[in-house]
Symmetry: C4
C-alpha cells in the first residue's frame, strides 16, 4: 500500500512541475503502473494535472476497459500502451503548445538541438480519427491504432490535439515531455525565420548515448523542481 | 435583490479571471441579464474589467438606448444582441490579442485544435465601420449590423478591434472567450510557420458534442480560477 | 520648489510603470519641463528608468547644451525638441522592443488597431546617423535633424535604436508610448502571418477624436498602475 | 584564499542573474581564472547555473585535461580558450534560446541594434562536430577547433547547441552574453517579418567605442541585478 502512496506522490510532483512549465494546461493526464510489469495503473481523474491532489489518482486495469466514471475517456489508450509495451511504466499526455503546433502544421518532429534528443527517428504523427469522438481517442480500435503508431518509440503526436510520451518511470516520461516541448519550441522558432536545421543523424546517436544516464535526468529535475512550487 | 448581487459577483469573478489570462487588457466589457429572459442587464462602467469592484456594474435596459453616462459607448451592441437572442444571457467583449490579430489579418477563424471548438462554422469577421465612431460600435445601426453578423453563432470578431462572445451564462461566455483566444494563439503559431491545419468538419461535430456538458465547463473554470488571484 | 518635487514624482511613477510594462529596459530616458513653456527640464541621469529614485532627475536648460556630466549623452535631442515645440512638455525615449523591430525592418508604422491611434499619418523613421556616435543622437546637428523628422507629430522612430514620443504632459507621452508599443506588437504579429491590415484613414480620424479626452487617458493609467509595483 | 572566495561569489551572482534572465536554463556553465593570467580556473560542477551554491565551483587546471569527475565534460574548451587567450579571464556557455535559434538556422549573427554591439564582424558559427560526442565539445581536438573558431572574438556559436562568450572579467562576459541574446531576439523578430536590417559597419564602430567603458557596464548590471533575486 505504501508503494501506491509513493506512486501517487510521484504523479503529483510531476503533474505540478509539468503544469508550472506550461506542458500541461487545464487538460492532460499522467499515469504510472502500480509497480513494474503490474497490470494495474494509476491515472488522474477529471481534475487538471495542475490542480490534482493525492486522492485524485484512480486505479485502473490494463485488461479491463470498463473504467471508473471518474477517469478521462481517453484512459483506454494508456491501457493499450501498457498492454503492448512491458518496458513502459509511465505515460504523459499533454496539449503542450509547441509540440501541438509543430505536429499539426506538417513539420517533421526531429531534433534541432541536443536537448531535444530522446529517440532515433522522427516522432510519428497520428490523425486517423474516428469522427464520432472528435479528436479524442476513446475507442478500443483507435487506442490500438495509436499504440501501433507509437510502436517502440518514446512519443507519438496526435494532430490538432497533443503528444503522448512514454517512459520507464514517471521521471523518464516527464523529462522526455520536457525535451519534446523544448525541441518543438526551438523548431517552431527556426521555422518562423527559415528552414529548421535538423541535427545530422550521426550526431543524434552520440547525443542519445549521453541523454539518459541517471545524472542527466537528475540535473533538469533538480532545476525544474527548484523553479516550481 | 440578492440575485442581482450574485450576478455582480459572477461578473466580478469572470472579469478578474479573464484579465489575469490576458483576454482583457485595460479595455473590454462584460454583461449579464439580471435574470434569464429579463430585459435588463448589468455591465461594467468605464473601469477596466481587471480593476472593477462589485459597485462598478450598472443596470441598463435592453430596449431603452438612453444609457447612463457611466457605461461604455458600446453598450448599445449588448442591448441589440440581447434583444435578438433570447438564448443569450451573457456577453464578453475583449481585445484579446491573438483573436484580434487572426481576425484582422484575413485568416479564417476556424478550429485548429479540439480545445478551440465551440460552434459549427467559422467566426464571422465584421469591418463595416461607420467612420464617425472609428472602429467603435456606438450607433443603433451598427449595433444591429453586428448583431446580424453574429446571427445564431457564439462569436463575431470586429476587425482591428476584438471579438464579441455570447453564452447562456457568464461561465459559458467566459469559457468560449478562452477557447477562441486559445485557438487563435495556436492558429497564429501555425500560420507563422506554414498553413494552418484546420480540423476536418466531421471531427468538429464530434468535438462539439463533447465540449459543453457541465463537467467540461467546470474543469477549465477550476483550473483558471486556481491560477488567478 | 514643491512643483519641481511633483514633477520628479510624475517622472518616477511613469518610469516605474513603463519599465514594468516592458517599454523600458536598462536603457531609456524620460523628461518633463519644470513647468509649461519653461526653458528648463528634468531628465533622469545614467540610472535606468526602472531603478531611478527621485534624486536621479537632473535639471537641464533647453538653450544651453553644456549639460551636467550625469545626464545621458542624448539629452541634446530633448533640448532641441523642447526648443522647437512649445506644445511639448514631456518626452519619453525607449528601446521598446516591438516598436524598435517594426521601425528597423522597413514596415510602415501605422495603426492596425483602434488602441494604436495617436496621430494622423505614419510615424517617421530616422536613420541618418553620424557614424562617430554610432546610432546615438549626441550632436546638435543630429538632434536638429531628429527634431525635424518629428515635425508636429507625436512620435519619431530611430532605426535600430528605438522611438521618441512627445506629449503635453508626462501622462500623455507615457500613454502614447504604450499605444505605439501595443500597436507595434499587433502589427508585428500580423506581419508574421501575412500583410498587416491597416485601419482605413477615415476610421483613424474617428478613433483619434475619441482617444485623448481625460477619461480615455485615466482608464489605461488606472489599469497599468494597478498592475505595477 | 579570500580572492578565490570572491571569485566564487562573482560566479554565483552572474549565474543567478543570467538564469533569471533566461540566458541559462538547466544547462550551461560559467568559469573564471582564479586570478588574471593564472593557469587555474573555477567552473560550476554538474549543478545548473541557477541552482549552484558557492561550494559548487571547482578548481581546474588550464594545462591538465584530467579534470575532476564533478565538472562538465565540456570543461576542456574552457581550458583551451584560456590557454590561447591571455586576455580572457571569464567564459560563459549557455543554450540561450534566441542566439541558439539564430545560429542554427543559417542567419548571420550581426548587430541589428546598438545594444547588440560587442565586436567588429559577425559571430562565427561552428558545426564541425565529432559524431561520437554528439554536439558536445568533449575532446581536445574539438576544443582546439572551437578555440580557433573563436579566434580573437568575444563570442562563437555552436550550431544546434548554444553560444560561448569570453570576457576580461565575469561582468564583461555576462554583459556580452546578454547583448548577444538581446540582439538575437531582435534579429529573430525582424527575420520573422522580413529581412533583418543590420547596422551599417561605420555605425558599429561608433557604437563599439561607447559600449564598454565602466559606466556602460554598470548600468545594465545595476538594472538586471535589481530585477533578480
Amino acid at each position: 500500500m505504501s508503494k501506491r502512496i509513493d506512486k501517487r506522490k510521484e504523479l503529483f510532483q510531476a503533474s505540478q512541475m509539468l503544469d508550472e512549465m506550461g506542458i500541461y494546461n487545464e487538460q492532460g493526464h499522467i499515469s504510472v503502473r502500480t509497480e513494474p510489469e503490474a497490470d494495474t495503473f494509476l491515472i488522474n481523474n477529471h481534475s487538471s494535472p495542475g490542480t490534482t491532489s493525492l486522492q485524485d489518482f484512480v486505479v485502473c486495469s490494463v485488461h479491463d476497459s470498463d473504467f471508473p466514471d471518474s477517469v478521462p475517456s481517453e484512459t483506454i489508450f494508456h491501457a493499450k500502451i501498457y498492454e503492448h509495451r512491458d518496458d513502459v511504466n509511465a505515460i504523459c499526455h499533454s496539449h503542450s503548445p509547441y509540440a501541438t503546433v509543430v505536429s499539426s502544421v506538417g513539420l517533421e518532429m526531429r531534433p534541432v538541438h541536443q536537448g531535444g534528443v530522446f529517440q532515433n527517428g522522427p516522432v510519428t504523427i497520428y490523425d486517423d480519427y474516428n469522427p464520432e469522438g472528435g479528436t479524442l481517442i476513446t475507442t478500443e480500435r483507435e487506442a490500438e491504432d495509436v499504440s501501433d503508431a507509437l510502436g517502440m518509440d518514446q512519443a507519438v503526436a496526435l494532430r490538432g490535439h497533443g503528444p503522448i510520451v512514454v517512459g520507464e518511470s514517471v521521471t523518464h516520461a516527464a523529462i522526455i515531455s520536457i525535451k519534446l516541448e523544448y525541441n518543438s519550441w526551438l523548431e517552431f522558432m527556426q521555422a518562423s525565420v527559415g528552414s529548421p536545421w535538423y541535427l545530422p543523424e550521426s550526431v543524434i546517436e552520440g547525443n542519445l548515448d549521453l541523454a539518459f544516464d541517471e545524472r542527466k535526468m537528475l540535473k533538469p529535475l533538480d532545476y525544474y523542481l527548484s523553479q516550481s512550487g
